[in-house]
C-alpha cells in the first residue's frame, strides 16, 4: 500500500517498521513531527524530554538496554546534544541507535543555518541523507541494520524541504526485534581515559570499514546519462539537479554522506568530462573531492548561504533566467506576528514602555523583537536569556533596568541552570517566565509543566514556582501575574526590579490558540468615540488598522480575526472599543 507522507512522517514509519522501541526528543522545527508521528504507534514508546541532551542520553540508555532507539532534534538541538553524541561514538550501541537531525537551509524557522554534516565528521559517526519520503523510510530502516552491524550510532540528516515535503511511501509490516540481553561491559561503556584510549582506535577502524562499505552500499548510486557533466550530490539537491539536467548529466547520488568512498568518487569523476558538486550550505563533499585532487565546480559558483532550488541552479550553472511577470507596486513584506489574543503581547508592550533592556530567548515570543513592540535586545539560543542577563548585569550593574524573558518550555529546557547561576553568584537579576502552558512555536507540544505527555497521557504536576523556590529564589520574590492585567504586571515588575535580590515574575495565561481557551466576542470601534490617537496601534495587534472615513481616520478591528482579548480596550483613553457580543 502506498501513502503520501511528509518526510518526517516517513521517518516515523521507518522507526515503526524497524521495530524501534524507544523515542526521546525535544521539539524543534523542522524535526518535530517525526516524534509526533512515532507517538501514534502503540508499539513505540515515545516521549518529549526537557532538552536534546537529555533526549539523546535517554536514547543511548535505551540502546545500552538492548532496544532499538531514536532521538530527533533540529540542527541547533544537536549543539545541545553534542556532548553525548561525541562520546557515544566511542561506546557504540546495544540495540541500534539512530539520531535524527534536521537542518534548516534558508532559515524558515531558525536562528542560524549551520550544516550538521560537520558533526558527523567531528564525532566520527556515519551519516545518511534521504532525498524524498520513500528514502526517509528506507534509509531509516537500513540505518538500524547497519548500526547493529557496525556497532555505531547513525546520524540521519534531514533538511526542511525533505522533512516537510510529502511524496509516496510504500507501507510494510513492522519487524519486531526482541530486546537484547543486557551484558555489563565497562571497557566499552565506561568512558574514562583508560577505556577510552582503547576505544578510539576502534572508532578509527570502524570509520575505515564504513568508507569501504560506502563503495558497495545501496545508499549510494550512480546514474549514467550524458558524460559531459557528472553531478555529485545528496539529499534534496539531487532532486534540483535532476530537474535541471535530466538525462543531460550523470549522477553520483550519495545517501551515505559520511564517510565518503574515495574509490567511488575517483571512479565517477574519471567517467565524466567535468564534475559539479551540488550541496546546500557548506562545501563538505567538495572539500573531500579537492583533497583527492579532483577538479570540481562547486562553491566557486554556488552560494554558501540560503536554500537551493532548480531556479538557482539554472541561473548559476547554466546562466538561464526565468520568464516572469510582476506588478509595478512595491509589495510590503509580511513577517510573522504574535497571534490575535497572544498573552505575550501585553508583556512586551509593558517592557518597552518601561524602557527595560530585555534579554530574550527562543520561542514565539522572539516576535516581541519586531515593530511596533520592538521590546527585545538580544536573542541567542535556548536558555541564554537568563545566563546572558547575569553577565550583562555583572558588567553593567543594570539589575533595576533589565529583565530576562523566557518561555515555560525553554525554562525547563535550559533556563534552570542559568537561574542557579544567578542565585549561586549573588546576582539580583529579574527573570520573566512567559508561562503559556504549552510549547508554542513548534506547534503546541507538551512539556514537563503541562501535565500531559507526548502520548497525551496524564503526567505528574510539576510546579514552576516550587522549582524556582527550590533553586533558591526567595518565595516572596516569586510573583505570578496575569499578563492581560497590564497595570498589575507593571506594578509587580517595578517592585521586583527594585528588589536587590533575584526574582522571578511568572506571566501565566494559556496560548490563545490552545483548544479550550475561551474566545470572547470580537471588539469593534465606536467611530464617534475614537479620536484616531493610535494608542491602540502600539501593541502590534494584526486585527487593528486605521481606516479613513468621512469623519476622519479612525481605528478599525477586523472582526473575523479578533478573539476579544481586550488589550486594545486597555490601551484606549476614550473607551472607543465595544464588544460585538450581547
Amino acid at each position: 500500500m502506498k501513502k503520501i507522507m511528509l518526510g518526517n512522517e516517513a521517518v516515523a514509519r521507518g522507526l515503526y517498521e524497524a521495530g524501534v522501541r524507544f523515542v526521546s526528543s525535544y521539539p524543534g522545527t523542522p524535526s518535530t513531527e517525526i516524534s509526533e508521528f512515532a507517538a501514534k504507534y502503540d508499539e513505540v514508546y515515545a516521549e518529549w524530554a526537557p532538552n536534546e541532551k537529555v533526549a539523546l542520553e535517554a536514547a543511548i540508555g535505551a540502546s545500552f538496554g538492548g532496544g532499538r532507539a531514536f532521538s530527533a532534534m533540529k540542527h541547533v538541538g544537536l549543539n545541545v546534544a553534542a556532548d553525548p553524541l561525541f562520546i557515544t561514538a566511542y561506546t557504540g550501541v546495544g540495540g541500534g541507535l539512530v539520531i535524527g537531525v534536521a537542518d534548516d537551509p534558508g532559515m524558515h524557522s531558525s536562528q542560524n543555518e549551520q550544516d550538521s554534516r560537520h558533526y558527523a565528521i567531528g564525532a566520527k559517526l556515519p551519516m545518511i541523507e534521504p532525498a524524498n519520503s520513500a528514502e526517509c523510510k528506507e534509509f531509516t530502516k537500513l540505518a538500524y541494520t547497519l548500526s547493529e552491524q557496525f556497532d555505531t550510532p547513525f546520524i540521519l540528516r534531514l533538511t526542511t524541504r525533505v522533512s516537510h515535503s510529502g511524496s509516496a511511501v510504500n507501507l510494510e509490516e513492522r519487524q519486531e526485534h526482541p530486546i537484547k540481553e543486557y551484558v555489563k561491559d565497562p571497557a566499552k561503556h565506561v568512558m574514562m581515559p583508560g577505556n577510552a584510549k582503547r576505544r578510539h582506535p576502534v572508532v578509527e577502524q570502524r570509520l575505515a570499514e564504513l568508507a569501504d562499505y560506502a563503495y558497495t552500499s545501496p545508499l549510494n548510486r550512480v546514474e549514467m546519462g550524458s558524460t559531459a557533466v557528472g553531478v555529485i550530490t545528496a539529499g534534496n539537491c539531487y532532486n534540483y539537479a535532476k530537474e535541471v539536467y535530466g538525462a543531460g548529466a550523470s549522477y553520483l547520488k550519495l545517501g551515505l554522506i559520511h564517510p565518503l568512498s574515495e574509490k567511488q568518487i575517483r571512479e565517477f569523476a574519471a567517467s565524466v568530462d567535468s564534475v559539479v558538486v551540488i550541496e546546500e550550505l557548506d562545501g563538505v563533499i567538495e572539500s573531500f573531492c579537492r583533497s583527492l585532487g579532483i577538479q570540481v565546480t562547486g562553491k566557486d559558483v554556488l552560494p554558501l548561504c540560503g536554500e537551493y532550488s532548480q531556479e538557482l541552479l539554472r541561473e548559476k550553472l547554466l546562466g538561464e533566467e526565468p520568464c516572469t511577470v510582476s506588478v509595478a507596486d512595491e509589495i510590503p513584506v509580511r513577517p510573522p506576528v504574535l497571534c490575535p489574543g497572544c498573552p505575550h503581547r501585553g508583556v512586551f508592550y509593558t517592557l518597552k514602555k518601561m524602557g527595560l533592556m530585555v534579554s530574550g530567548d527562543i520561542g514565539c515570543y522572539t516576535l516581541g523583537a519586531v515593530a511596533p513592540l520592538g521590546a527585545m535586545d538580544t536573542t541567542l539560543c535556548m536558555g541564554a536569556s537568563i545566563s546572558a542577563l547575569h553577565g550583562f548585569n555583572k558588567v553593567q550593574g543594570a539589575e533595576a533596568k533589565s529583565v530576562a524573558v523566557i518561555g515555560d518550555s525553554t525554562f525547563m529546557h535550559s533556563g534552570m541552570t542559568g537561574l542557579v547561576n544567578i542565585i549561586y553568584n549573588g546576582g539580583a537579576s529579574t527573570v520573566v517566565i512567559l508561562d503559556n502552558r504549552i510549547t508554542g512555536m513548534t506547534g503546541h507540544q507538551q512539556n514537563p509543566l503541562t501535565g500531559l505527555t507526548l502520548k497525551n497521557q496524564p503526567a505528574p504536576y510539576i510546579c514552576l514556582e516550587d522549582i524556582c523556590a527550590g533553586l533558591g529564589v526567595d518565595r516572596a520574590h516569586i510573583r505570578v501575574v496575569d499578563p492581560a492585567k497590564l497595570s498589575e504586571l507593571e506594578k509587580v515588575l517595578k517592585e521586583e526590579l527594585a528588589a536587590e535580590v533575584p526574582s522571578v515574575v511568572i506571566c501565566r495565561r494559556p496560548c490563545a490558540l490552545l483548544k479550550g481557551v475561551e474566545k470572547k466576542p470580537a471588539l469593534r470601534v465606536d467611530r464617534e468615540k475614537c479620536r484616531g490617537c493610535k494608542s491602540c496601534m502600539k501593541i502590534g495587534c494584526p486585527c487593528i488598522s486605521m481606516e479613513a472615513g468621512e469623519d476622519g481616520i479612525k481605528a478599525k478591528v477586523d472582526e473575523t480575526m479578533c478573539v476579544g482579548c481586550g488589550l486594545c480596550e486597555e490601551m484606549c483613553p476614550f473607551d472607543a472599543f465595544t464588544s460585538t457580543g450581547a
Binding site: I4, L6, T29, P30, T32, E33, H108, S109, N132, R161, H164, S165, G166, S167, A168, N236, N239, Y240, K242, E243, S309, Q310, E311, P322, C323, T324, V325, S326, V327, A328, D329, E330, I331, P332, V333, R334, P335, P336, V337, L338, C339, C364, L367, V370, A371, P372, M441, T442, G443, M537, G540, P542, I544, S545, M546, D558, T560
Partner: protein, 194 residues
C-alpha cells in the same frame, strides 16, 4: 504528461495545508506521482506562506520556482501579487479578493497597494478574482474559503471535477464535510457561469 505545478499562497493560518492535501489526494487518485512542499514553524504565525503541489508522471523537485506555476491559488490579494512572478506565461491566477494588512502597513511603515486585481489583469495575466470567503459563508461557514478557492479553479487544476470533489470529501473533517462540499459545488458552478 508534463509536470503540473500548483502553488497555494496566503497568510499563515488560512488553511493552505488542507488545500494542498486535497490536491495531493486528487493527484494520487489520478495515478500520478505527487510532491507537496509545506511550511511549518514560525511563518505560520501570520506570515506569508506558500505551499507547492507538483504532479505528473515523474516529479523531481518538491518546489516551484519563478515562471513555473501553471496555477496559483491565493487566499489574499497582496500575496497574489507577491507570488505572481512564479506564474508561468499563460498560467492562471485564482485569488480571493480578501485583503489582510501586514504589520508594516498596520504600523504605517508601508502602504497596501490599491487595485491589485485590476493591475494584475492589465498585465495580461489570466486572473480569476472572487470573494471566496463570501461563497464559503453562503455555503455555511467562511472558513471553507480554501475549498471554495479550489472549486473556483476546478477547470484549470487538471483534474476531473468528480475526482477533485472526491478528494475534498476524503480530506476534510467529517463534521465539516457537508459545508465544504457545498462550498466546492457553489464555487465550481459560479465559475462555470462566468
Amino acid at each position: 504528461m508534463i509536470t503540473k505545478n500548483i502553488m497555494i499562497v496566503g497568510v499563515g493560518g488560512q488553511g493552505s495545508l488542507l488545500a494542498s492535501r486535497i490536491l495531493g489526494a486528487a493527484a494520487t487518485a489520478g495515478g500520478y506521482e505527487v510532491k507537496i512542499s509545506e511550511v511549518h514553524g514560525m511563518s505560520q504565525r501570520g506570515g506569508s506562506v506558500v505551499t507547492y503541489v507538483r504532479y505528473g508522471k515523474e516529479v523531481s523537485s518538491p518546489v516551484i520556482c519563478q515562471g513555473e506555476a501553471d496555477v496559483i491559488l491565493s487566499f489574499e490579494l497582496l500575496e497574489a501579487a507577491r507570488w505572481l512572478p512564479f506564474l508561468r506565461p499563460g498560467g492562471t491566477l485564482i485569488t480571493a479578493t480578501q485583503e489582510i494588512n501586514p504589520m508594516p502597513v498596520i504600523i504605517g511603515a508601508a502602504e497596501y497597494p490599491a487595485g491589485l486585481a485590476k493591475k494584475i489583469d492589465e498585465l495580461g495575466v489570466n486572473i480569476i478574482a472572487e470573494d471566496a470567503a463570501a461563497i464559503a459563508q453562503s455555503a455555511g461557514n467562511g472558513k471553507a474559503a480554501n475549498v471554495a478557492l479550489i472549486g473556483l479553479g476546478a477547470h484549470v487544476l487538471g483534474f476531473d471535477t468528480a475526482v477533485l470533489r472526491g478528494a475534498v470529501e476524503e480530506c476534510v473533517p467529517a463534521k465539516a464535510k457537508e459545508i465544504n462540499l457545498r462550498a466546492f459545488d457553489m464555487a465550481a458552478s459560479h465559475q462555470r457561469a462566468q
